[in-house]
């Protein structure tokens, strides 16, 4: 199989370009929309599994998923969760096992997805009391959700489907109708994150099917398609696995989180926050990590100068997932147009890091100024009492946070408004 490097080179020659290939993205897109045979990945020479000195440390490096059952509401660790002065955190809803991505419908329905399980849920608020309903089941890792003009879009492992007029039919939901299925079938980073761009296209991550490898041409990218499933094209490459992105409310630039490789070091590499300024940019995977060092296996003969630098380094192995720009009016002015990011929490690190929501402040030019913890407490005694996945700004300006270990959604509000949605 050709490496992506070889294909890039060939296309560069064809296009007669010497800069990194913005124009060639379209040529690759034509390739990407052809039917794709089952994946036969090329093994990496070294599988990236390290020597670890003792069995006790090994035990701290296990990635343990939750059982497929939600934690009862009265057992949720609400008392452990800390927010800055003036903010308040409460349980928005519970009982949604493996609660993952969240999207809000036009009529106020909260949609919540699964990754390990097979369902998509609708949460309806009736006078401050929340009712949870399964609107689709039997799906294949339906992690990605997007909503546009009454239609819910669901990205599964190998397809994107839609449910029209969903908010009018929550008790009798239509079967999802497939609109796009041009994905390889792989478990590793095979689930999708999805969002609706300011251009009204569906953006979806197509993750790298491994910890560290040369991904197939069709993977390691963000892709966008029209709402009817046509016109697929590559947005950016060099992505290991992005599970969160959003667009700056003013500049409309796309920012995305990317999870760094495992098994390199306790302290490296950092997960990245990236900023897309041009279509076709390459963000380094698998050759360069965190913009400043080459991979110990895939990076030989490469330099990080070939690739885009991250906008921020978010911590080693923290699993930076969902992110949203804050566009609400409830929080203090300093939060306007900054980014909330959910750090799911490290597993490939003996001293755990993350399990929190951080707040990123941007400079006027869109670069990152700083970030600080916003909601903490999911990490207790080097273990997790919950794992935050996605964040969502509600119409009233409060912030929802999903937790896929406890199967719950939390709500953070500020000031007098904290009382409005009390249950």
């Amino acid at each position: 199989m050709k490496t992506s490097c070889a294909v890039f080179t060939r296309l560069l020659l064809l296009a007669g370009l010497c800069a990194f290939p913005f124009a060639t993205v379209y040529a690759q897109t034509a390739e990407a929309t052809k039917p794709i045979p089952p994946m036969q990945p090329v093994p990496s020479a070294v599988p990236g599994r390290p020597d670890v000195p003792n069995a006790e440390v090994e035990k701290q490096l296990r990635n343990t998923p939750p059982l497929p059952f939600p934690v009862a509401e009265d057992k949720l660790p609400l008392g452990d969760l800390k927010v800055p002065k003036g903010f308040k955190v409460e349980v928005y809803t519970s009982g949604i096992a493996n609660a993952r991505s969240m999207r809000m419908g036009d009529k106020g329905t909260l949609f919540v997805s699964n990754r390990l399980l097979d369902k998509v849920w609708a949460v309806v608020d009736k006078n401050g009391k929340r009712e949870n309903k399964v609107i689709a089941a039997g799906l294949d890792r339906p992690n990605g959700l997007a909503f546009h003009q009454g239609t819910l879009y669901i990205a599964e492992g190998t397809k994107i489907s839609k449910m029209e007029n969903i908010e009018d039919n929550l008790d009798n939901p239509p079967k999802p109708v497939v609109i796009y299925s041009d994905f390889l079938n792989h478990q590793s980073h095979g689930w999708k994150f999805m969002g609706l761009g300011p251009d009204n296209k569906l953006y979806v991550n197509v993750g790298s099917p491994c910890n560290i490898c040369e991904p197939p041409e069709t993977n390691g990218q963000l892709r966008r398609i029209n709402l009817d499933g046509t016109g697929a094209e590559v947005v950016v490459r060099g992505v290991r696995n992005s599970v969160g992105f959003d667009w700056h409310p003013v500049s409309k630039e796309l920012y995305f989180t990317d999870n760094g490789r495992d098994w390199l070091s306790e302290d490296l590499p950092n997960d990245e926050l990236n900023r897309v300024t041009k279509q076709g940019q390459h963000f380094g995977f698998p050759y360069c990590h965190q913009g400043n060092f080459t991979d110990r296996e895939m990076g030989w003969g490469r330099t990080c100068d070939e690739f885009e630098k991250p906008a921020a380094l978010l911590g080693p192995h923290v699993a930076a997932l969902g992110m949203r720009f804050y566009t609400g009016k409830m929080f203090p002015a300093e939060y306007q147009n900054g980014i909330f990011i959910a750090r799911h929490g490290s597993w490939n690190k003996s001293k755990k890091l993350g399990g929190d929501i951080i707040y990123v402040t941007l400079n006027k030019d869109g670069s990152v100024k700083s970030f600080k913890p916003f909601l903490t407490g999911f990490l207790q005694n080097n273990g997790y009492v919950g794992r935050p996945v996605d964040v969502l700004v509600m119409k009233d300006g409060s912030l929802l946070i999903s937790d896929d270990h406890a199967g719950a959604v939390y709500r953070v509000s500020y000031g007098a408004a904290t009382k409005v949605a009390a249950r």
Partner: protein, 178 residues
Amino acid sequence: MASIAAVAAESAEATLNSCLVCHGDAARAALPNVPALGAQPFDYLTIQLYMFREKMRTVEPMTAMLAGMKDDDLKRLAAAIVKLPAPAPNSEPADAARIERAKALVVQHRCNFCHNRDYSGQQNVPRLAGQREDYLLKALRDYKSNARRGYDATMDDVLYPLTDADFQDLAHFLSRQR
């Protein structure tokens, strides 16, 4: 075959008897490609039972057997299975060259990071020691081909660079571990 729900009124131990018709125990051999259940971790068992019930894993007759069972029934059944003794290892003669190759693979790919150094398994990770050789080979092949989806993506990730010849050596070795 009758759904286990039909006998849900019975104790989980009684229900377990219908499992052992195919899965085998000290007195009965398991059917080909059907795993031994003894000494598997509770979380692994619960998750697999859940996946069969929800048709996230499709192996007949498992889905039919578990239809109608409640979450608590699954947990009770898993708790009963946990008490079964570990299976006796494969006593067929071992091929020394294959054992050596498998040992090297285990080290290189860190199988025992999650499965434990004695392959006893933990939490959501199954016991491998003494498991049926044909089942181990089938499981590895099915993970690799996506015929069997994992609860999470770990096995797909680990098996990415491994070949069918590797799987045969690993199954040969692991089925002979105590």
